[in-house]
């Protein structure tokens, strides 16, 4: 388990999906939260990935994922 914190739901355990490289130097890294499925790049502006800077309106409640409806239910 990685200690990387998800900017959206504050869970740990994010997976590293990709590193953007130029001349073999890492320019940025893309992470994905296994709890809320948020994907982000560590080079993004703080308004998107900064804890405390991101709008709370877009937080996901990791403790209550049942509140998000499932589409295409039979």
């Amino acid at each position: 388990m990685s200690e990387t914190l998800c900017p959206r739901c504050s869970s740990t355990g994010a997976i590293e999906d990709y590193q953007g490289r130029e001349d073999n130097i890492v320019v940025w890294t893309i992470y994905r939260c296994v709890t809320c499925c948020f994907s982000w790049r560590d080079s993004e502006p703080a308004s998107t990935i900064g804890a405390g800077v991101r709008s709370a309106d877009f937080a996901v409640d990791a403790g209550n994922l049942d509140r998000y409806p499932k589409i295409l239910q039979q």
């Binding site: 990709y18 893309i30 499925c37 080079s43 993004e44 309106d57 499932k70 295409l72």
Partner: protein, 484 residues
């Protein structure tokens, strides 16, 4: 046939169209280094300010994505749409509307098949160690999107219950969110073709294989977004409307795809599984919520050498989404209304996918426009989308908002308004009472006819018609320093 029309009919791929656009000053290359966020979004939004003349913008120097290219704004202005239809830059929206309405239902489809080994889309093939980020220079389209989206993907699939039927093959634009190196989620609703196919596959335990086409023939994006009958092929329809042949080939998983697309992702749905999807900044200019959506596993990717990833900026308008689908939202409503009411003279449903529409009609009798409005609400698109309707007389051009405002100012009485409460609504309309249910508004801004006792004022009759249209264009050319 003139040169531009011939050129338009000669387009068989995104690359062909970009070359045509560049020759007309309607495509530019952005070679200054950009960050995926927020630079790509910022440039796309700045371009969207010019709905009439914005160029397509190709980025070829994106930090962390060396050698990769992405393009936005291919359908981002009326001038680009005009060139796609074989008409010159500066063609009015009204003329473009009648260009499309005139092509409705009278042309033949020309479909040809290219063997897989000769199809440009299969030039490069990835079947193992798939990482979508290796191929797609994706970026966050709006700052609170839940991830990296493919916003302009045409998804092809066969009906899981009738996989050999060409006509029941579906091609539609659905938003796709990358969910890790070899997975993505797909958002749809039960009434869309893909929604029906997903539900049928899950109900019967049948596999659902799809092919996601990115960077396509520019006619497909326009026509795959048009609501047509379930058993009509979008490929045949796009070919007929373009008056040009369309080249198909097979994907590795047996789906008919465009032979000249830049990138095709082959994938299979994971039956019954859902992942969190969204938010995504949508066409009403607001974010969708977070929902649990079906997930697809990528099985292979084909692409042309040095592929171009085509994407779109969508959000609070005006955006490329509006020029991409506006006229093809308006034209079917017009064609469907004209079947019953030949008095309808034009339909402008450009605004937010038809959430507001303006219809011009020759009033047959007092109150007739209201009858036509109610019919419009029962057209396939009207059922969900036409929320606010403004009815104007045939002497008002619904594409000229100054004229529409004149009709509202001089021909509307407050009791000529109808509110239909608690009707079906698009779930992402933020003004809905609850998602999926809201009110409809009809404003009758047509003039008074008997038995209405008020009567029409004596109108000024300024000169109109083709001579005046030609004079307007001559003034614009003189203003631009071009000789007549």
């Amino acid at each position: 046939m003139n040169d531009l029309a011939n050129k338009a009919r000669g387009i068989s791929s995104l690359r062909d169209f970009l070359e045509l656009l560049e020759g007309e000053g309607q495509a530019i290359t952005w070679s200054e280094r950009v960050l995926p966020e927020p630079d790509l979004r910022n440039v796309a939004v700045a371009a969207s300010r010019d709905a009439n003349g914005a160029p397509a913008i190709l980025f070829d120097n994106i930090a962390g994505y060396p050698g990769k290219r992405t393009v936005v704004g291919v359908h981002g202005s009326w001038d680009n749409i005009a060139l796609l239809l074989g008409r010159p830059k500066g063609t009015t929206i009204r003329e473009l509307f009648f260009e499309i309405a005139g092509r409705w239902g009278d042309a033949e489809a020309q479909i040809s098949y290219v063997p897989e080994g000769q199809a440009p889309v299969h030039e490069c093939r990835v079947e193992s160690g798939i990482n979508l980020y290796d191929i797609l220079p994706v970026y966050r389209i709006n700052e609170y999107d839940g991830g990296f989206f493919m916003g302009k993907a045409s998804v092809a699939s066969r009906d899981p219950e009738d996989p050999d039927n060409f006509g029941k093959q579906n091609v539609g634009i659905y938003r796709l969110q990358v969910q890790g190196p070899d997975s993505f989620s797909l958002m749809t609703i039960p009434s869309h073709d893909m929604g029906r196919q997903i539900m049928a596959a899950e109900r019967n335990g049948l596999p659902l294989k799809i092919a996601v086409m990115l960077g396509n023939h520019p006619g497909l994006a326009v026509f795959a977004a048009t609501p047509i009958g379930y058993e009509e092929s979008e490929y045949a329809y796009a070919s007929a409307m373009m008056g040009a042949p369309i080249r198909l080939t097979k994907s590795g998983n047996g789906v008919d795809i465009l032979a000249d697309s830049e990138i095709v992702i082959e994938a299979e749905m994971q039956l019954g599984e859902r992942v969190l999807e969204g938010p995504f900044g949508e066409f009403p200019g607001s974010y969708s919520g977070v929902r649990k959506a079906p997930i697809f596993k990528v099985t292979a990717v084909s692409h042309r050498r040095d592929p171009i990833f085509e994407n779109i900026y969508i959000g609070r308008g005006w955006t490329e989404h509006d020029t991409l689908i506006g006229l093809h939202t308006s034209a079917p409503i017009y064609a469907q209304l004209r079947k019953d009411f030949p008095e309808v003279t034009a339909v402008n449903a450009l605004y937010q996918h038809g959430l507001t529409g303006i219809i011009s009609v020759k009033n047959r009798m007092a109150g007739f426009a209201k009858t036509v409005a109610l019919r419009a609400l029962s057209t396939p698109h009207g059922v969900m989308y036409l929320k606010n309707l403004i009815m104007v007389d045939a002497d008002v051009d619904p594409f000229d908002l100054n004229q529409v405002m004149w009709a509202l100012s001089t021909r509307t009485r407050a009791d000529d308004i109808i509110v239909l409460p608690n009707m079906p609504a698009v779930p992402i309309d933020p003004s809905a009472v609850v998602p999926g249910k809201g009110h409809r508004l009809i404003i009758d801004a047509t003039s008074y006819l008997r038995p209405d006792p008020i009567g029409e004022a004596h109108l000024v009759s300024p000169p109109t018609g083709p001579d005046i249209d030609a004079l307007s264009k001559a003034i614009r050319l003189l203003q631009q320093g071009v000789a007549k």
